[in-house]
Amino acid sequence: MAIEVHNVSKRFGEFVALDDVSVTVRDGALMALLGPSGGGKSTLLRIIAGLETPDEGSVSIGGQDVTHAPARTRGVGFVFQHYAPFKHMTVYDNVAFGLTVRRAPKDEVKERVEELLGLVRLDGLAKRYPSQLSGGQLQRMALARALAPRPEVLLLDEPFGALDVQVRGELREWLRRLHEEIHVTTIFVTHDQEEAMDVAGQIVVMNGGRVEQTGTPHELYEHPSNEFVMSFVGPVNRLGDALLRPHDIHILGSGQDLYSDGSAVEALVRRVVHLGFEVRVELTLPDGRDVWAQVTRETASELELAEGQILAARLPPPRIFA
């Protein structure tokens, strides 16, 4: 179901959590709300779920105005940041909860719970209690629980935030595939730009309670509408007012002829940092300013990069945001 958020504002005392925010989510989309903490992402998510009410503005799900509808009637599955498991219930009862409160027949509940436990790869753990599960397993249980009543919309608040890096990567991949399978309109909140770009088809960048930009990962990266977006969605070098991406700085080599067309500048290599596939080269420009360039391992070994070298480098046309 499509979700429309119109001119929503929300204050908590003096603090403005959302300031006139409008967002449209297509039916079946997988969207990320990306931004620094305190930027209003979670508040927006909770307003869509009905866990908070907006001070101003409206929310509609599937064309129906739900601004003042209680959470339980919205048909929204919500996965909490810390999973909010029902600790006194088994995994089975946790997942079954959304069905048993609707008084679904027992065999139907059993079938659905088993199906979902299979989907989240928790079969065999049905009789465990949440305290006996790992973080990743809890996460998947929370997801199965949210999906059990077949929600129209799935909302996830920092779904991978509390997991270690490896598990996070696996779950990301898995969430994307799950979305391909079941096509439920999904919004997830994250402060990790890589995670947002990896998983989502559409990203809403939020900061200070406002939407900075909405677009595909490619659009945001290539055509950021302002300085905040550009520096949030990827690494940047700052040269006065100008911003440039480290991988757009081309290190050409050490030959004198490289300066002939006038596009190259001299750069002193201050430091070379090997980060696996990527090599980070810290440079000092003739005017004394420092930048860093991102090159591949191959380029680094071809150029025989070493500290103290003076090389020709070509800087991209800088981007300046008014």
Partner: protein, 301 residues
């Protein structure tokens, strides 16, 4: 439960950190001093408990059974003693459920409610702790007695509150009101609202959320509150003493009966009834403990 766990972890972590100290010998000395201090403290605490609680209670039991079981049995099967016993049980049976329901309700209001003047509710809730039961009894008489505010209306409708069961229920309920709420509030606070909100997004209404999510999570706080309420209601003397009129065989509860026997130089009767009262309290504590253990074994919380 979590706080006791961290306490244990904290205690074992300290000596381990000590033993890695470079000054090992000094560490051992300090360790020994610490052990002595700990033992001393333990002895002091136990001694205090013994002097305050153990010795008097043991003495009562000893005096009661000094001449065997027969006189005790005779004393507790006296019609007035039996009546007092059943009246106390009746009061507990009415007051404890009432205060459990209202206690949980008040705890939810304090912890989950959003309204102005919430601090005032907390303050009022603690009043029964602060006010002497005698004052409670007197004020009930002032309000519900024949000369009280509702006196005319009550007697016109043939309802007698003071010197009868309703007044005693009121008095007992008043003095034992805070326990369930006060034990439940911190548990509710610790629980947080995430699980309740999760239940709401899963389609549960307020009652289903309370019954299936909130109540099971707070039940040990509630159970402890119920135990304390029961003990308090059973033992209540001051307020009930004033409100009941202490009519032998009619409005005499077990504590009042003990006092009455004692004043009439019937020490056997007084001690026997006192022992019954003490046993009732023990049974309450023991029963709740067993219940807690049995349920806890079935699940890992």
């Amino acid at each position: 439960m979590s706080s006791s766990e961290t306490a244990v972890i904290g205690r074992s972590a300290v000596p381990r950190a000590r033993s890695t100290d470079p000054g090992r010998a000094r560490g051992h000395e300090r360790e020994a001093g610490k052990t002595a201090r700990r033992l001393g403290l333990r002895f002091l605490a136990l001694g205090y408990l013994l002097a305050l609680l153990g010795a008097p209670v043991a003495m009562i039991f000893y005096r009661t059974f000094e001449h065997g079981l027969a006189p005790v049995w005779n004393a507790v099967t006296q019609p007035n003693a039996m009546h007092a016993f059943w009246l106390s049980v009746e009061l507990v049976a009415i007051v404890v459920p009432l205060n459990t329901i209202f206690g949980i309700g008040i705890a939810l209001l304090i912890e989950r409610g959003r309204f102005r003047g919430k601090w005032l509710l907390g303050l009022i809730l603690d009043l029964p702790f602060a006010i002497s039961p005698v004052v409670v009894g007197l004020s009930l008489v002032l309000v519900y007695g024949r000369a009280g505010w509702f006196g005319d209306w009550l007697s016109a409708h043939g309802i007698q509150v003071i010197f009868s069961i309703p007044g005693m229920v009121l008095a007992t309920a008043f003095v034992s009101l805070p326990f369930v709420a006060r034990e439940t509030v911190p548990v509710l606070h610790e629980l947080g609202t995430d699980a309740e909100q999760a239940a709401a997004t899963l389609g549960a209404n307020a009652w289903q959320t309370f019954r299936k999510v909130t109540l099971p999570a707070i039940r040990w706080g509630v159970v402890y509150g119920v135990v304390l309420t029961t003990a308090r209601a059973l033992g209540e003397f001051g307020a009930v003493s004033i409100v009941s009129g202490r009519l032998e065989g009619q409005t005499q509860t077990l504590p009042l009966y003990v006092q009455d026997r004692f004043e009439n130089f019937d020490t056997t009767g007084a001690y026997a009834a006192a022992v019954v009262l003490a046993l009732l309290a023990f049974a309450t504590l023991l029963g709740m403990n067993l219940l807690a253990k049995r349920t806890r074994r079935d699940e890992v919380v």
